[in-house]
């Protein structure tokens, strides 16, 4: 035993029962104080928990919002910009030629390998509208509203696979666990209509999107802010209606009792998830009356069905567009549509950018055009921001696995086109340019983070100040990136 060990041993020997009891007084006191103050940081950090009656976070929004509502039309899979808005005659001339090695060096693609052939656009373009923007013959109706939109032609992203790219587009982070754009919106602005969820998700095109429900999850925000998925066919929200032989009164009483028990449990353990549960039960009960009403498109006049090309009772993008307008009218802040049919690899018939993509376009062309026109004639476009786009674009090169005549393109993160309309966005404007073959943005590139910053700006937020404290630091939708694209704002 050396001298240090001996010293420690000696000191330990002095620790009598008396010492132990003495230390307990202060130690237990500290423990008690901790639980008195609550483990939540609410007492220290303030703002985010001080919700006023209207469900607003204090101090928000930062400035008068241009947009009260957002409708985000996400074309899951990544539609080809080269067949829709980005006219590249040079690429047509190079159709079928080998891609230069220098273009492929050091680049990551999902499926391209070796030396792929370049693939010219499979659609025909013409200049349309007063703005003279190029739009292809895949979207004949959309040309009618081209003077309402701003085209973002040099978008780019960081991810070349669907799930991470969709997460990046919807949550600002390619990894799981971040709140979605819609969640941030209702976290900041609250829901207008207390009887409907503030963030509704509608899907079409079959299957579920690669990123799954995380694309509309609330991440680290309180779970009350997550998106509520409604079905456009059958019951809009499953298990919402009363079970057999249970009437409204009994249902109401049982929910009241469950909430009372939950409230007691919350008083005991102070888990904020319990509060989410209580408010969700309450919202679900209110939604029993409001949701079937707003989701029932049968009561629309014939000319509206004709305009959108809707098919009541079925599940379709057209129905979802009409529903989006109805939801916005009822004060739903954020309506997220996913249309899942845009992954045009050309690995089978109807899966390429030729006839296959043309058919896909037929499914969206009329409804999205009608959505803009209908919002406009009702005076809603003024304060509703409509955003259209996929999670990435498609390569100017042909996909290796493409069957003969199927004309597939691979995922492409360096350039793609999106458009925005309404709520203070310029009308008939085009922003950004790509190179001769539509591979890379050469002017006014816009990253996904910049898009998010701009959307939040129109909603009245400074994207650098809309934060939520989690795991010891403040998080933002745009993390440490993002610039508002002032040039596209009127």
């Amino acid at each position: 035993m050396n001298i240090v060990e001996e010293a420690i041993f000696r000191r330990a020997a002095y620790n009598s029962r008396r010492h132990f009891l003495k230390k307990c007084t202060s130690g237990l006191g500290a423990l008690a104080l901790g639980s008195l103050m609550g483990c939540e940081k609410a007492l220290l950090s303030g703002a985010k928990d001080e919700k006023s009656g209207a469900g607003f976070v204090k101090g928000l929004p930062h400035f008068a919002p241009k947009a009260k509502n957002v409708i985000f039309l996400h074309m899951a899979g990544g539609p080809s910009h080269l067949e829709l808005f980005d006219f590249k005659p040079e690429l047509q001339k190079l159709d079928g030629q080998d891609t230069p090695k220098s273009l492929m060096e050091g680049k990551n693609f999902a499926f391209l390998k070796g030396t792929p052939k370049l693939l010219g656009p499979r659609s025909n373009f013409s200049r349309v509208g007063d703005s003279g923007a190029h739009v292809s013959d895949y979207l004949p109706n959309f040309t009618n509203v081209i003077d309402e939109v701003t085209l973002l032609k040099a978008m780019h992203t960081d991810e070349f696979n669907h799930a991470p790219a969709q997460l990046l587009m919807q949550t600002g982070n390619a990894r799981l666990g971040s709140p979605s754009l819609g969640s941030w919106t209702i976290y900041g602005l609250g829901s207008e209509n207390e009887n409907l969820p503030g963030f509704v998700v509608l899907t079409s095109g079959g299957g579920s999107i690669s990123a799954g429900k995380s694309a509309w999850g609330s991440g680290f925000l309180p779970t009350v802010h997550q998106g509520v998925q409604c079905r456009s066919k059958g019951e809009p929200v499953l298990f919402l209606s009363n079970p057999n032989k249970i009437d409204d009164h009994l249902r109401k009483r049982s929910i009241d009792i469950i909430n009372e028990i939950n409230r007691k449990e919350y008083e005991n353990v102070a888990d904020p998830e319990i509060l989410s549960r209580i408010s969700q039960y309450e919202l679900a009960f209110k939604m029993q009356a409001t949701v079937p009403d707003v989701m029932n498109i049968q009561d629309e006049p014939a000319y509206i069905h004709e305009m959108y090309g809707t098919d009541p009772g079925e599940s379709s993008f057209a129905n979802n567009c009409l529903l989006a307008r109805r939801l916005v009218e009822k004060g739903v802040r954020f309506v997220q549509l996913y249309d899942n049919r845009w992954d045009t690899h050309g690995v089978g018939e109807g899966n390429g950018v030729g006839e296959g993509m043309k058919r896909s376009c037929e499914a969206i062309d009329k409804p999205m055009t009608a959505l803009i026109q209908d919002l406009k004639q009702r005076g809603l476009l003024d304060e509703t921001l409509v955003i259209w786009g996929g999670e990435f674009g498609r390569t100017p090169m042909m996909e290796a696995r493409t069957g003969v005549g199927y004309d597939g393109r691979d995922h492409h993160l360096e350039a793609f086109t999106m458009w925005m309309a309404g709520a203070g966005v310029k009308k008939g404007f085009s922003y950004g340019e790509t190179d001769e073959i539509g591979y890379y943005g050469i002017k006014d590139r816009v990253h996904v983070h910049d898009l998010h910053a701009t959307i939040l700006h129109q909603l009245g937020f400074d994207h650098e100040k809309l934060t939520y404290e989690f795991q010891g630091r403040n998080f933002r939708l745009t993390d440490v990136h993002g610039k508002v694209i002032h040039d596209i704002l009127a």
């Binding site: 006049p301 000319y303 305009m307 004639q377 005076g379 003024d382 009245g460």
Partner: protein
């Protein structure tokens, strides 16, 4: 620079601003002790005087040496530097001399000198003040001290009175491209190093002529020539580049600032020109507006401040069922809408809104069974900026009451019974920008005559013929 100065010399030299505060403090203490120890009460301090003086004198000598090393780094106004240097050396000598007179090793002189030693300390104090002031001027620039001094004091010091600030710019056309945009930019980003006293790289950027003259690397501004204008070339380098400006980790220029600087140089760099005289293309107006602090898109709230609404009135409105809320927390302006429960004006008393007429700027009463008689109340809410009365049984008879809504910009009347006659009344709403008239009785002829008088108003009629 004639001599190749080793990094060590400059490294040590840069401790001068730190070390220089030791002699200042210690010698001030010595002077205080020397002067107060003449009083009987403080005589007890006198024996410490020689020790403190020695300490002060030695630290002054060290500061002098470090200062000399720093001066080798160059970039200082040589004339000021000369006087600072020699005043510092003189101060060191004076403090050593005072030490010698006070120490017991000079008893012969004591009779005369001890009696008059306080003159020596007064001289020392003056030298400290003079040297210190010159040193401050070298570091911060000669205008630093009196930059914010009151004008009479500045005049007394031989400076011209503070320049009258440029008038606040409220519209883009009235701004001067150089005086209001480019010069303030140079002032904030360049002049802290390129001024008369610091002159880094022998470059001055305080006046237009100095920009043309440039520094040791050549002219900073070449009119119309972006390639050779160093003031542009240096700021667009990557921040990691050795020649990147602003140097020393100061924040660089943002995209708007770069574009505007580029535009100015390319457009013959006028030393003064109103923006009204040029046609700004593409995105340039927006960039100028942002730099001038003008909002790019018209703010949807009135600029005038308004007093907070009485909370009892707001509560009464909420009790009625209206949804009332502040548009942004910092402003007292309110938006009002009908509840989503389906309640309409048939059940709610609209008169509760009248006490809030100064605050309500946005109102949505669509599908609210608003009748013509309600419009006489709505017509008194003359701050209204956005008004949505869509899908209400409103006719021309009610529209008459709205002629006072002079601030109205957005007016939604779709699904109402307004006809050409009612439309005529709306001609008088000077601020009106968008008017929604889908599914009304208004005819094409009515719109045509309306457009003749008010071509500025955007009338939205809708895509679909609803009567089909």
């Amino acid at each position: 620079m004639l001599l190749k100065v080793s990094d060590w010399v400059i490294f040590l030299g840069r401790f001068h601003p730190l070390a220089v505060h030791l002699p200042i403090g210690i010698l001030l203490l010595a002077a205080i002790i020397a002067l107060i120890s003449r009083k009987k009460r403080f005589r007890v301090l006198a024996p410490s005087l020689d020790f403190i003086l020695l300490l002060g004198a030695i630290s002054a000598a060290v500061a002098c040496m470090l200062g000399y090393m720093l001066s080798w780094g160059g970039d200082y106004n040589t004339e000021v530097l000369f006087w600072h240097q020699w005043a510092g050396i003189l101060l060191t000598m004076v403090s050593f001399f005072l030490y010698w007179t006070c120490s017991r090793s000079a008893p012969i002189l004591s009779g005369f000198l001890v009696r008059n030693s306080h003159f020596g300390f007064w001289i020392m104090l003056l030298l400290i003040a003079y040297t210190g002031h010159l040193g401050g001027n070298l570091t911060h620039g000669s205008t630093y001290l009196l930059q914010y001094a009151p004008n009479p004091l500045r005049v007394l010091a031989g400076l011209e009175p503070k320049a009258a600030p440029r008038p606040q710019i409220t519209v883009l056309d009235s701004a001067d491209v150089f005086l209001d945009v480019v010069y303030p930019l140079i002032q904030s980003k360049c002049q802290s190093c390129h001024n008369k006293d610091k002159m880094k790289g022998e470059l001055l950027l305080t006046t237009y002529d100095e920009m043309l003259k440039g520094g040791e690397k050549g002219p900073s501004l070449v009119i119309g020539d972006l390639e050779n204008s160093l003031m542009y070339q240096r700021v667009i380098l990557p921040a990691s580049h050795d020649d990147y400006m602003p140097a020393e980790g100061k924040p660089g220029l943002n995209d708007d600032e770069l574009e505007v600087l580029k535009w100015w140089i390319e457009n013959d760099a006028p030393p003064s020109m109103r923006l009204a005289r040029v046609e700004l293309e593409g995105n340039m107006p927006g960039k100028f507006k942002r730099l001038l602090g003008l909002t790019t898109s018209e703010s949807s709230l009135p600029e005038a401040k308004v007093a907070a609404a009485d909370t009892t009135h707001i509560r009464r409105t909420r009790e009625q069922g209206f949804i009332v809320k502040k548009i942004i927390p910092e402003s007292n302006y309110l938006e009002v809408r009908l509840p989503f429960t389906g309640q309409t004006l048939k059940e709610l008393n609209i008169e509760v809104l009248l006490p809030l007429k100064d605050q309500i700027v946005w109102m949505d009463l669509s599908q609210g069974e608003v009748g013509d008689e309600d419009l006489s109340i709505i017509g008194q809410l003359n701050r209204l900026n956005k008004l949505n009365l869509a899908n209400n049984p409103i006719s021309d008879a009610g529209i008459v009451h709205l002629s006072d809504l002079k601030k109205l910009r957005y007016f939604n009347l779709y699904g109402s019974s307004i006809s050409d006659r009612g439309l005529g009344i709306l001609k008088g709403l000077g601020e009106l920008q968008s008017l929604y008239l889908w599914q009304t009785q208004v005819t094409d002829a009515g719109i045509e005559s309306f457009k003749k008088e008010r071509p500025d108003i955007n009338i939205i009629m809708g895509q679909v013929d609803f009567q089909k």
